[in-house]
Subunit: 564 residues, 2 copies
Amino acid sequence: MKILLKNGSVVNVFSEELERADVLIENGMIIGVGDYSDEQADKTVDIKGKYVCPGFIDSHIHIESTMLSPYEFSRAAVPHGTTAVIADPHEIANVCGSDGLRYMLAASDGLPVSVYIVLPSCVPATSFDEAGAVLSADDLAPFYSENRVVGLGEVMDYPGVIYGNENVYAKIKSAKEHGAVINGHAPLLTGHDLDKYISMSIRDDHECSSVDEAKERIRKGQRVMIRQGTAAKNLIDLLPLFDKPWCDRCLLVSDDKHPADLLSNGHIDESVRLAVKNGKSAVLAIKMATLNAAEHFRIPNVGAIAPGYNADLLILDDLDSVKVCDVYKNGNLVVENGELVDFSKPAIPKELENRVRGSLNFKPLSVNDFMFDCNERRKCNIIKILKGQILTEKIIDFIDFSENNGIDTQKDILKIAVVERHHKTGHIGLGFINGAGLRSGAIASSVSHDSHNLIVIGQNENDMLIACERIRDIGGGLVAVENGKIICEMPLPIAGLMSDEKADICAEQNENIRIAAHKLGCPDDVEPFMNMSFVSLPVIPHIKLTTLGLFDVDNFCLIPLFAD
Amino acid sequence: MKILLKNGSVVNVFSEELERADVLIENGMIIGVGDYSDEQADKTVDIKGKYVCPGFIDSHIHIESTMLSPYEFSRAAVPHGTTAVIADPHEIANVCGSDGLRYMLAASDGLPVSVYIVLPSCVPATSFDEAGAVLSADDLAPFYSENRVVGLGEVMDYPGVIYGNENVYAKIKSAKEHGAVINGHAPLLTGHDLDKYISMSIRDDHECSSVDEAKERIRKGQRVMIRQGTAAKNLIDLLPLFDKPWCDRCLLVSDDKHPADLLSNGHIDESVRLAVKNGKSAVLAIKMATLNAAEHFRIPNVGAIAPGYNADLLILDDLDSVKVCDVYKNGNLVVENGELVDFSKPAIPKELENRVRGSLNFKPLSVNDFMFDCNERRKCNIIKILKGQILTEKIIDFIDFSENNGIDTQKDILKIAVVERHHKTGHIGLGFINGAGLRSGAIASSVSHDSHNLIVIGQNENDMLIACERIRDIGGGLVAVENGKIICEMPLPIAGLMSDEKADICAEQNENIRIAAHKLGCPDDVEPFMNMSFVSLPVIPHIKLTTLGLFDVDNFCLIPLFAD
């Protein structure tokens, strides 16, 4: 059937004009742009006064961070005009390895948001960590033959690149041989080190936080991804990049986006809107969100309103509010007047589904697992959470183990444990944390970057035990416990990372568990689960806890609890 | 060895700036751009006051049209700063089929000019023509696995695209499946027909002769190749495309370039120079000649001065004259102070070389082959050459066969013959031509678009015969004969299209034979061999001669000689 969108203005990302033109669609493709008459179509839609714009592309997102399944993510994103994303399934791969990649490919097949995949380059993030899997260059290679795999995901191990780690090199070499785009992640790297890093054909970065940092990268041949996510918001600082000539080398990304943020503020539409609100050209911002992305990832026939391009397009009421009225994906109306047109869930092989859902594997725990075999007053290394940051600080202080085995709510010294949950190694890292503020109970989570072991903070060992066992029972998720009772929970049965629920339910559950943690005592200006989820990531300074114990990031080594 | 180009200004095609920066090169690659010191290199070259610019890329050329072998072509082109071309071996493929493609790949391997290949889409140009080969989609498909094959060459059969010719569709489908870029050729096509044509993912055009024509194509997602060749010169008419935003979607090409023109005026450097001379930005023109080309053809790490890019770069004295001082190819100095550093000829398999050189295959001819069996005065269809055009005009006039079998120098009515020369079919098309002007002798050529049969124009049949036999003897080329004697010749033994000689010899031979034809009577304002070479091309209006006889292009059918 031929559909004619008549009398609209086309956002032409090639000529950077608004063009008065009709758009003719057939078999999922745009086949004409110009003056067309009703007789040339089977159906005409009059869109006088409205704008036709290519569907938005998020050039870098971890879908797992939305806590939504790819299906529910697409249902939440497409009403915001997202018709494609470049997803790096780094989180699920750290839990499930190749199964995680297969799952994401299967679970995102045929969605109204095209999910292109970049293969996670850092599984595990470091060798000091017990992830669910190790993905070598050889493990990744077969996936390049998948149609939707377009690149190698953010190469975070920049010391490995600069100093020639052979595993990192093997992955980059293989990516180049497969003609894949190699994504970067090297915050604040500059000068000669940046040259070395980029020399490996690492052609983009999404970690820029200043215009100078971004311009150096663009001059050196990288495309800069301007990030506006839930945690990291760089767009306002990078506004000058929306001007020529920089905008031609920039893309728009979210990286990590939480469900409530996605629902209420939007997705890439939010970035475009924000740019326009700050005086930037809507046409150029849209180009950054569409054609620039498709050309960077060498995805043909995507990202523009032109003959031969996929009919992935948006009808916008105006270019100030960037309010998405209708969305066509492959020529099908998938959002009508802001309302989602329902579509079916992709079929996932049962066995694969079972493997991904059975990701919580740890030995039965007891209260003793959370106890130190010590009864004295000792000087200890303690993790201090910093408000609004994923950095931590190392403090050294005396802990009296004769009282509550060291827990001291007066001084906000709580217990923290990281339980290996992938291969039943029985490894449990145990330590003390300051800043979480719980005055009773425990909170626990199977989302814990980047290895996603089970992490728990508690005011008492029994609640910590109950929280961990509950997470096992629900197959992963976030839990808050008080006085032996589950007071709130958010199940994340897909690899312990993603929910089965709709975005609004997810957002509500996420909010409720946040409130529950605050009720247990977590200060208002600390994000309890977000902060906790980074306490186990041994690549972010300064002191972290892994399944093997305390880790000094600055010296890149394990350290003992006792500092005396 | 690390080479440091110190103190120069870098033409940065990403930021569109001139950037004060040193350039560090190692193992054929740029590994640093910025401030570097002598200690960081094994060798430092001080280029203070000069400019470092990426090597130029000709995005569309038929190397055969230079009449030079790929080796000699590269020797002539690299001093002009050309470090890569996208070559469409359409001519040799029409003579030698797949052997022609294999030959061009072998003969261009490892040259200082990287020769990327687009596979010729129109072999033969039409089914009304006897070419040396037919290349189907299946014949072309294996070549896509060759490293240097990047696309499908100009799809000239635009009626075939618009009306759904299955052979054309099969070639386009195959190209898309192989991720190849599809080149266009559709002069003056506009509106709905252009939409249909572009809908087949035909993503560029090099036939634009007006700004409006070019802008329509850019708006519809094509890149426009601004042509400045020997015959067709569009650059001045298209100057506004050197401005934003159009320049971002434009490339520079020569298409057809003769050896004398290449030597004396230059190549892509000439286009850049001409743009600058006409007030356009040198940096933007250079970007069109470098990065834009590499990105269009998805050739990674080529076309810019940045870490990880091939060290294909030019040292320019200034940006006005665009005078190329030094050329580095893969980090090796291949032109030093304007002088070529010699390099070896690629090895070509002997058997392949023999096949390509034995391309003149026709049955022994006699004078009778050029005689009409007629003795009366008859009304005839006659081809009229138009000055400065490749179009011809049909004239109808009386010819008296009783005198000189119809040849009438008074009225400038000469004989023309097209002798099938590939497969000894014995087919000879015979007719009359007006406008060539010979008052004696004959001129003949094995260069005759697009099938490259043997074409000969004569004032008498004996000289026509001698010219044809001489071309057989020398394995192809251009010949001028008078009174039974060869008065001038230019051997083109490679497929009857290309010379073994150096560019300067070729240019001289080409000039001499042109002069010889003028001495035989060809008017000053007619290019004898160039004009003749298009008389057999049945896709250019209005009347042509093929091996099967006169062809009416407007009605797309063979027509008889006699019009009474």
